[in-house]
């Protein structure tokens, strides 16, 4: 069964600029795994090398933070929406840039 996953602006380069994608799975973990297998470039942005969800990426099932609902084991229903909400900071290269000179 498919749920809608909202992709935030900073991660849209890795989903062909789509702001939402339909992904199937029975719990949050499966949905996220399915998401990164269809959009492999997302993987390093969402998961650490050990496969743990990164601490600066918050995942919400509907309006609830999954950290408080059973994390990746939280079951999903077809009407649910999953939101990836990373921390964001401004739009100026000087402060938000990956390297000091790009």
């Amino acid at each position: 069964m498919a749920v809608k996953v909202y992709i935030p602006t900073p991660l849209r380069p890795y989903t062909d600029r789509k702001d939402a994608v339909e992904v199937s799975g029975s719990d949050v973990g499966e949905v996220l795994q399915q998401l990164v297998s269809s959009h492999p470039q997302l993987k390093s942005h969402l998961f650490t090398a050990e496969g743990k969800l990164r601490s600066f990426v918050n995942v919400y099932l509907n309006d609830e933070d999954i950290r408080y609902t059973g994390a990746e084991k939280t079951p999903v229903k077809p009407s649910d929406t999953l939101s990836i909400v990373p921390s964001i900071a401004g739009g100026s290269p000087a402060s938000a840039c990956c390297c000091s000179r790009c």
């Binding site: 702001d19 909400v85 921390s87 964001i88 900071a89 100026s92 990956c98």
Partner: protein, 393 residues
């Protein structure tokens, strides 16, 4: 906080009563509310994109004391969104430019300026004179510093941040409410923060998010309505949608939890992994990287040397300016388009400032390209040293 029902000793002049009449006739504000606004002391961190509308509206609303922390000067790239500054302010301290505009809007407002960087050393000293903090910072070290200083001093933090077409806002560090660390325990490492090729912000967006901050600030001062507490508002301008998410106080939060481990301000540059970045080589260190300066490149072009100039920026950047006869292969497309280049060619890669092109050089060298050089300082150096008609952005 001076936001409760304690009697407010300030009085309004007849001129002020006239000025604020549209507030005074709202029962939820009235004379008492307007006095609370006049007595209120609000500290704004940053007089940039978010700080501009916050300052304009708080000044117009009659907030008595506005502290502004900003050591930056106005430049031309600010004017697209930082509406408190004008063209004639370019080169001035943002703080002084903001002070002028605020005073022009409402001379009753006392502006207290701090032309310094907010640091772990000065934050608590500055914060102690204020009732509320409005966080308009655009970087993670200051974001965490403001958060921790608000929690430690018990001052609420009216927070917003923006990226391209998207914004987030919340009121943090209220009594029994969550803080930024409850939400995001750690900042992203610098390498995973979007690069300048992916940055930018539509100028109206900070206007929308900043006015939300101004509204929440005024509600807190007046003690009316429901503050944006225990929830965060997400705004997507392209969809024109607001979405509300729950935000919970984390009992294990290192700064506001039941057993805090952070009891005084820390080194936020280090916490955000910035120390290593700042001290690193200006260009990512790449084995065997050969550089070429803009002037040397110009000489080689003029001497007729066969060169392939590869611009690895994004197409929208290429439309702004380009080096003559360069070909555009955005960094992200390089792996699938490298076959358009020949390993025997003399190649010069460039981007805006030299960072992305260093990555391109690294990729090409590892793919067997032997004669690749990086244009030091990118197209900005070309504009500075060779052709000033090339616009900078």
């Amino acid at each position: 906080m001076a936001t409760t029902a304690e009697p407010v000793s300030v009085n309004l002049s007849n001129d002020e009563i006239m000025r604020y009449s549209r507030h005074l006739i709202i029962p939820e504000v009235g004379i008492e509310g307007q006095r609370k606004l006049k007595a209120a002391r609000v500290l704004m961190i940053g007089a940039g994109g978010l700080g501009a509308p916050v300052a304009l509206y708080l000044a117009a609303a009659g907030v008595g004391t506005l502290g502004v922390v900003d050591y930056d000067t106005v430049d031309f790239t600010n004017l697209q969104r930082q509406v408190i500054h004008g063209t004639g302010d370019v080169g001035r301290l943002k703080l002084e430019s903001a002070r002028n505009t605020i005073t022009e809007i409402n001379p009753n407002v006392k502006v207290v300026g701090y032309a310094e960087k907010l640091t772990s050393e000065n934050a608590l000293q500055i914060f102690k004179d204020y009732d509320l903090v409005v966080d308009g910072t655009d970087n993670f070290p200051t974001r965490y510093l403001v958060n921790d200083a608000c929690v430690l001093t018990g001052i609420p933090n009216v927070y917003a941040s923006i990226f391209r077409f998207e914004g987030q806002a919340s009121v943090l560090a209220l009594p029994d409410g969550p803080c930024y660390r409850c939400w995001y325990p750690e900042p992203p490492p610098p390498g995973l923060v979007p690069s300048c090729a992916e940055g930018g912000v539509l100028g109206v967006l900070p206007g929308i998010m900043g006015t939300l901050q101004a509204m929440e600030t005024i509600k807190l001062i007046l003690g009316i309505g429901q503050p944006l507490k225990n929830r965060v508002m997400l705004f997507d301008a392209l969809q024109m949608k607001f979405r509300e998410l729950k935000l919970r106080k984390n009992p294990d939060c290192p700064v506001c939890g039941t057993h805090p481990t952070i009891k005084h301000l820390i080194d936020y540059q280090e916490f955000c992994g910035m120390r290593a970045v700042e001290e690193a080589q200006p260009v990512p260190e790449i084995a065997g990287m050969k550089q070429i300066t803009a002037l040397e490149l110009k000489d080689e072009i003029d001497a007729g040397k066969p060169l392939v100039i590869v611009d690895v920026r994004e197409p929208n950047e290429y439309q702004i300016c380009r080096i003559p006869n360069s070909i555009l292969i955005p960094l992200g497309e390089l792996p699938k388009r490298a076959h358009e280049l020949s390993p025997e060619q003399d190649i010069v890669v460039h981007c805006k400032m030299g960072g992305r092109s260093a990555q391109a050089l690294d990729y090409l060298q590892k793919s067997g390209f032997k004669k690749v050089r990086n244009l030091e300082g990118g197209i900005l150096a070309w504009s500075d040293e060779v052709d000033p008609s090339v616009p900078k952005y």
